[in-house]
Symmetry: D3
Subunit: 229 residues, 6 copies
């Protein structure tokens, strides 16, 4: 039996929107180094940085029917997350579905499979992270679930979780951890501003982070290069 779960609880909108100001690398660290999707998830076009609440969609291999079903479950501020039930590289998504999602205020698409019409997607400025680009289309024959927890590109994503995505990739932040993660990201960015300033002036990380003593304890030796012929 396939189900569409309606009226999912979403992460707090204010926290979600604030997370968009932080990069994926920062958010991932702030959450305790969990939640990253696999590195093969790449942006279809460069320069987007978004955060949104996940509407999750399972799709059978080569069948995008449930994406059409899931559009209705989306609201402004959401990001659609599509997870095939087995490996697929076909193009589940193109400019028509992007038009539909944009008209509902959806902020982007995360899909562990292929997309097409990528020149249009860039022109429309609809952000997409996918495994690949492929013009091969899909059928509409088989049911699957909408808004159930999915594993997408190796990460567990619950409906309503926050998705953060930029040129570094994609990270999921658990609903319940979103506020704490946002606070951690703020701290982290503040600290990085300080270290960046120090490094710009030429200070070494060795000194800034006080690594020298521990390196020596572990046994690191400095030697001179042998003479060459």
């Amino acid at each position: 039996m396939a189900v569409v779960v309606q009226n999912i609880k979403r992460a707090d909108a204010g926290v979600r929107d604030a997370l968009a100001e932080y990069g994926v690398a920062t958010v991932h660290e702030a959450q305790g180094r969990i939640g990253l999707l696999a590195p093969y998830m790449r942006p279809v076009w460069k320069g987007a940085r978004i955060a949104g609440t996940a509407v999750t969609v399972e799709v059978p291999p080569g069948d995008n029917w449930m994406i059409h079903v899931a559009v209705e479950q989306c609201q402004p501020g959401d990001i659609m997350v599509v997870a095939p039930t087995s490996f697929s590289d076909v193009g589940y998504f193109g400019d028509l579905l992007a038009t539909s999602l944009m008209s509902r205020g959806v902020r982007g698409l995360i899909i562990d499979a292929g997309v097409r019409d990528v020149a249009d997607l860039e022109e429309m400025k609809f952000p997409v992270w996918s495994k690949c680009v492929y013009a091969q289309g899909t059928v509409k024959e088989t049911l699957a679930n909408v808004n159930v927890p999915v594993v997408c590109a190796g990460a567990l994503i619950h409906p309503g979780d926050v998705i953060v995505a930029d040129d570094d990739g994609v990270c999921v932040v658990r609903k319940k951890d979103a506020a704490k993660t946002l606070a951690g990201a703020k701290d982290r960015v503040a600290k990085e501003a300080e270290s960046r300033a120090a490094f710009k002036k030429g200070m070494l990380g060795l000194d800034y982070y006080k690594f020298r003593e521990r390196l020596a304890e572990k046994g690191l030796k400095y030697i001179d290069a042998p003479p060459e012929d």
Copy 2:
């Protein structure tokens, strides 16, 4: 024995040129979902959209001699299609060969292997779709065939077939199916314009395509999200 087949029959030039106005995804659907090359075939630079008639070239691994032979068989409106006889990632093609092809009016290159001088290729605006980029060069020692049917990136291509390529990838259209495919592409684009307009106004694909009844028949259930802690 290796042969160069001369005076191949090419697809109709008017049809070929008209196909350049349609994207690969559209042409692929219009032809009945056949003819796509594998998704690893990516454009060396983004934004080109071309159609042309195929001059097919077999090359031994690491040997580009036959590309030099095949240049002579090209005429304006052609696209060169290169298929190694076994897997190869070396750079068979660079800016000098591109200069040669451009001087003959060739519209682009499709190669199931590597290319090099990619910054030059982009500057020259010579469109190339390849498996990879690699500076490793080739030798000129071993014969192979020109203008015989080849399997390139998983697709069967006959000399004179139409090749259509854009940022979504590469599709081959059989000579005899080219006119019918062009007509189908026109129809498809017209229909998509209508559905795009509807989606822009917020109409759902569920309603536009009348999916709801068949989904219910297959057993799709709508439920509410369970309460969370």
Copy 3:
């Protein structure tokens, strides 16, 4: 025992800087077709062309401590070369380390693993060639060597060797071969200018390189296409 080798002998600075004017494909040919890194090494952003002297860094999987150690060994004109001791895709390097390296006059990074903060790296115009992009960070727990010979993406690199990198990939030039390779690159570029001019006018490579006789000797046959139905 892990060592940091100091005061390495670097290739001649004049030769190194002159090599930056030649592309990777040219340099690789001029050196006798050796020294290329694997084709999966791709620039994080397009358009950079650099040459520099290698500071080599071994890193354990998921541990970037030694990169911090190696920064101190860098001087203006260097390129940092990072080789994990086993396969890793995590993001060893981001905008803070790039800031540090830029403050020391380092020209770029070559890393057989992942990097992050790639939007920042592009904005800073710090050139990086990597295997992948991944936001996953590292720990700082385990020692390895700095400025020992490493195998990076399949190529043997000694400290002080010249690294040349552009959109075609990355090539290492041995210290002792650098001057000879530079001379060869100059010759090659001069010759290519001639052939490019000939090809632009429509001369065929078949004639320019005098291939026809050897092709005939090997048995190449020209036939006409059979009639089609």
Copy 4:
């Protein structure tokens, strides 16, 4: 902070042991087609078929310290499930750890990374499913969690879930679904015995499953082969 969760609740031992009699393909179907690990998970030696309760272990890249920690949490009937926090191919596990696990009655290992000493593992008849075989060892420097939910080779696994593994791969059965899945597997095997008998006698699936009518409705046509030259 890293934690070791003790005294996990395990699936019912009787159900777990009964599941060992069914193949992975059967169990996966009986559970509603969920729970499979990725197809790259292959047995180190062929012929084992096991079921056990999961003790889950997170490991940092290239660091197997937590496997040593997790051994203590294992009891007879368990299967150890190891999930690196990022991609790793190193050999986290060899004959010494296998000796330890066997002495505690552990039935096998599932690891989304590499193992070594594989000739010994086969001789000891300790079943292992892994991503690869690699002699590269690990360090013992960094903490991670034991007995928390993990994503292993694309599947979500909770401590105490049932793992079923054979030459077809690996499947996880949720604790709460184990009894129902076992019942489904029994039914399925009974039905398959009937169909197998029918097929052995030459009955066609087309007739046995009554496919002909639906195929005709969808428009399948039977035509004769055209004459060949």
Copy 5:
């Protein structure tokens, strides 16, 4: 529209059966080095060597309905060849379909996708070459073609062509070339017996094939190893 082509013309049975006595490497060379399927096609169990006439089956991703349709088109001496219309790794085929095919005298399966029940397939001694092993099953919803030319693992295969398969992989022999290829294989095996005997006695290939002169002409130099420290 999907079609099942009936009454295909098969290659001569005597030639087909005789080809089974030659290995794939020999047959491939005898046919002029064409017709090999990609190297990722591996036998599910080692030791089978078969030849048969191809019944070709297109399958949509994740949908094995057409395999059931194609069984009826098989006769003794055939080999089923399955080509998904886009990349798929799911298990399209297991012990029940193998039972069906064996009852019709089919000699094996070639599938550019996954299979399951591999322990059973080996026990039944039904030979299978596949891209992978995966327990994930399929649906039965979408039509495709039977007995049309297909590209399978990079090779073009027509219905009725001869398929030869052993531990080295899979090769297709065109119907019209089968007799000539068989003759070539016989010659080749005879010649190899002579060279094998010579090599067993210690004769060098350098002398047996008279390579020395051509090597010298090309410029091969013999030098002594430099002294080592």
Copy 6:
């Protein structure tokens, strides 16, 4: 210019032969965790464990001429090491070359490419480690070097180095480090015998290696599983 280096200095024969008694994992650890070839190097048949002195062979893509040249440079106790100058998956080596090498007392082949006739290789008991199996043959047209240092599957190998290979993969031991590595391997095996005995009796690695204190210092916490519904 291509060279064949003759009269290379080989590692001590006694040390080399003694290393064959130790597995690759042990030798790799004993040498300080360097020298492993990439994990994709797998034995063509299982169960061989060999050590020998390297004769190194560069080969162009798809061209095995230099293997024939290198046979003459082999003597009893050697292992042939073949490194293509760019990626190749073709079958460079089959039963005839194996016959030749066996007649000279060569102990095995390590090749970063494909081999064929694998059923014969197993029957002859000639051990081979390769990247893949592929029936595609080679040409004999282009020179390369014999007995120069090569990078093979990511490892630097000098002529005369010791190669150790078993079901875990392949490791190179530098000539000058061979005796020291052998001594280390002996020590390691002795220590492992002790730990294996302890583990067999049920002693935990946590206690045997005295890990508990350091784990606590790093902050590892033990907690009880939360109650489940």
